[in-house]
């Protein structure tokens, strides 16, 4: 590494104290396999970039946002109309949140279909899945914060669903709502979850997830593993892969700005707890497939309530999905159809179809 005299001095000073050389050695030797599916390697990076955008735009919103039934909507209106670039920051925060969840899903399914979760990356997969749940938690809690009509009733429905869980549902719903109903108390605690509790937990898991990825490197797809070393192609993580990542981040930033400027996020009408629920209440798009499933289920399945059966089914499916690396079914002999691919495609198609149906019905 070329450094001038002054930089060298500072580096030496730090190195003596923190032993940086082994870390830099490790990073400089880190390689990324080059192959036709390597585009999926960038999805995690894009998600990380969008998370950084979320943190920065979220901090800016915090400067003006005031939680509370009487102040939340008004402060949002103030941000959108009076604060310089407030409209842009809010719109970026909303679009970036949605894009982040989208890329989390893309990243998860690409990891699944390339079988990157296999040994030795089982814990990386589990930590990633937990990050997905936390991201959904961010989405759910953030949706209510503008205190608008749609978010208010969607939160009511969402927390009602939580209340249907046997044994722990009712107390959990009371904790989430801060009482029997969705009120200003719900708003302030959702605010607490959104800006303090979830970021703390999310950052911890994110650091772990990134450490795992850095320590173990990128996984090689099956066909590459079987090739002799001489035929494998590699590129350095620093700076080659990192700069490619940066290039994609710039493109995503541009798309994000385009969406924020040309399709600014709507604030809607202020929530009125005494008004009847408006038509077209729906959750954020990433909850739509679950919401639609619950709507389709009959009132009773055997001796259980339909809604309860749905919730239990999703909970079980989530647990099964989280532990995929530990129960994976490997193909026998020369079988061409891989069971894991069928299961993954079924889950993906189910999510897509039920999301589309949710918006059409």
């Amino acid at each position: 590494m070329k450094m001038n005299w002054k930089t060298n001095k500072i580096y030496e000073w730090l190195d003596k104290r923190y032993e940086l050389t082994p870390v830099i050695e490790f990073m400089s030797k880190k390689k990324v396999p080059v192959h036709k599916h390597m585009i999926w390697y960038y999805m995690g990076g894009v998600t990380l970039f969008l998370f950084i955008v979320q943190v920065l735009s979220g901090i800016l919103l915090l400067l003006y946002y005031r939680p509370g039934a009487d102040t939340a909507y008004e402060s949002m209106r103030f941000i959108l109309t009076k604060v310089n670039f407030g409209w842009l920051v809010r719109s970026i925060h909303s679009w970036s949140a949605n894009l982040m969840i989208f890329f989390v899903f893309v990243h998860m399914f690409s990891t699944y279909f390339t079988r990157a979760y296999q040994k030795p990356r089982e814990i990386t997969w589990v930590s990633g899945f937990l990050l997905l749940l936390l991201a959904l938690g961010f989405g759910f809690s953030g949706y209510l914060l503008p205190w608008n009509e749609l978010a208010f009733f969607a939160t009511k429905v969402g927390t009602d669903i939580v209340g249907a869980i046997p044994f722990i549902g009712k107390p959990l719903m009371l904790v989430l709502r801060g009482g029997d109903d969705v009120t200003g108390a719900t708003l302030t605690r959702f605010y607490g979850f959104h800006v303090a509790v979830l970021p703390a937990i999310f950052t911890t898991f994110l650091v772990l997830h990134l450490l795992f990825v850095q320590r173990q490197g990128m996984s090689e797809p099956e066909h590459l593993k079987n090739l002799p070393d001489a035929k494998k192609k590699w590129m350095s993580f620093f700076p080659n892969f990192f700069l490619r990542d940066a290039l994609l981040w710039l493109i995503v930033l541009n798309v994000l700005l385009f969406l924020a400027v040309f399709y600014p996020w709507d604030l809607g009408f202020k929530a009125d707890p005494f008004a009847p629920a408006p038509a077209g209440i729906r959750p954020e798009w990433y909850f739509m497939f679950m919401f639609q499933t619950l709507k389709f289920l009959p009132a009773h399945i055997l001796f259980l309530e339909g809604e309860l059966v749905g919730i239990l089914a999703f909970a079980i499916a989530g647990i099964i999905w989280m532990f995929v690396p530990f129960w994976e079914v490997r193909p026998q002999g020369t079988a061409k159809i891989h069971f894991m691919n069928i299961a993954g495609m079924a889950a993906l198609i189910y999510i897509i179809i039920f999301t589309i149906v949710g918006y059409m019905v």
């Binding site: 290039l247 710039l250 400027v261 040309f262």
Partner: protein
């Protein structure tokens, strides 16, 4: 779970109903009026199928237990028709048309009796009735004029607040129409029969009959009900002024009030009409074809000139206000901030309404002063609207500059990566 809840709800309701029934039984036991099930007038007439036509058991009188004998007299406790319908027992039979007001008035004109059931009810209906055209003609033995049951029915009387009532606000025009729109029935009275037809297409009629707005005036709101009579010259403006208060005040204080009175002209009706009163338009003022001013004023006189000025002021304001509304739509369509604009235009709209009301002063300076206030607010709104549209384009230009910067950076990065790849391949 749901079944269990439904069952519990049913049991609770059943328990409550049983209790209510039990309490009601005790109350009736203490009352001297027999319960409806023990009322022999009702039971016999029902069994024999000779209940009066249009009889309704939900009639307002039946609710507190006043049955047939309440109006017709007799002894409902006896199952012997001779005893039950004996004049000795106060049986009055069916009243003649001329007797009906007094027949109903037995109770309805007695506050001592009526306060038992409705402490706040009026008891001057019969008194008022005899001051009406209907009442006066009835005294002159006219057998066709309306009396109580003509409007209220005989045996299906409901509260005026009940939508089933013939005198419920939405039903009043149709109740009056039954006689007043029948040319054959009204022939001998020599009055028009097109009131309902004209009313139905008027601003009032459309609001009441089409929009079901019970606040809109029906026949009785202008003519009265029990004391129904056509408003005279001296009272017609007061009738309209009941609702259109400012218009009346401005008019009576205007220099036009006196000549109108001298000419024996109905104040409001002269320009707006009566039953067929239409939604007003700015073209009613001025010197155009639709103007009502030129009916009396000729070119060159002061009134003509004032009408011209007032029309010009209002139109200037309206045109400006409409253009601000079009710009507002543009601002909203562009997704820009419209809060302050909306407030300003709301205030301007109030000024516009007030300016139009001030037309009844017939004073161009007063209209100009109020319209001027509104024009000022509208102009302020237009300045804000222009600013918002400008901001909208500034945002897009800003995005263009940012995109240019990001694209240059991305292209530079792309070439840097390509150079590095080349070096890697060579190496």
């Amino acid at each position: 779970m749901k079944n269990f809840l439904s069952l519990s709800t049913f049991l609770i309701l059943f328990y409550a109903m049983a209790n209510t029934f039990f309490i009601a039984e005790i109350l009736y036991a203490d009352n001297t009026v027999p319960s409806l099930s023990e009322d022999h007038c009702l039971t016999c007439h029902r069994e024999m199928g000779i209940l009066p036509s249009g009889f309704n058991e939900n009639d307002i009188h039946m609710q507190p237990g006043l049955s047939c004998s309440g109006c017709h007299g007799g002894n409902p406790a006896s199952d012997d028709p001779e005893v039950a319908m004996s004049p000795k027992n106060g049986f009055a039979g069916v009243p003649t048309r001329a007797e009906i007001p007094q027949f109903c008035g037995k109770c309805h004109s007695s506050i001592n009796f009526m306060r038992t059931y409705r402490p706040r009810i009026q008891t001057d209906q019969v008194e008022q009735y005899y001051t009406s055209v209907h009442g006066k003609k009835l005294r002159l033995k006219d057998q066709k004029v309306a009396e109580c049951v003509s409007c209220h029915t005989s045996h299906a009387i409901f509260s005026v607040k009940d939508a089933r009532s013939t005198v419920y606000p939405l039903n009043v025009p149709n109740t009056c129409k039954k006689c007043h729109s029948d040319p054959d029935y009204m022939k001998e009275y020599h009055i028009p029969t097109d009131q309902f037809a004209r009313y139905a297409t008027s601003v009032h009629g459309m609001d009441l009959l089409e929009n079901k707005d019970t606040g809109a005036p029906a026949c009785n709101d202008c003519h009265g009900n029990h004391g129904a009579t056509p408003p005279g010259v001296e009272s017609v403006s007061h009738v309209c002024g009941n609702c259109h208060v400012n218009n009346l005040n401005y008019f009576t204080a205007s220099p036009m009030a006196e000549p109108f009175e001298q000419l024996d002209v109905h104040a409001c009706e002269q320009c707006h009409g009566n039953h067929g009163v239409q939604k007003t338009s700015d073209e009613m003022v001025g010197v155009g074809e639709s103007s009502v001013c030129i009916a009396c004023h000729d070119a060159g006189d002061n009134g003509y000139h004032a009408a011209e000025q007032i029309h010009h002021q209002i139109k200037t304001f309206v045109n400006l206000y409409d253009s601000a509304q079009v710009r507002l739509k543009d601002v909203q369509q562009k997704g820009m901030d419209d809060v302050d604009i909306l407030f300003l235009l709301q205030e301007a709209n109030q000024d516009l309404i007030h300016s139009r009301t001030l037309v009844h002063t017939f004073d161009p300076s007063k209209v100009a002063a109020k319209a001027g206030e509104g024009i000022k607010k509208t102009n302020e709104a237009i300045v804000l609207e222009r600013q918002e549209v400008k901001d909208y384009h500034t945002r897009r230009r800003g995005f263009g500059i940012a995109t240019l910067f990001i694209t240059v950076l991305a292209v530079a990065l792309f070439f840097k990566i390509r150079d590095m790849e080349k070096l890697r391949k060579k190496g």
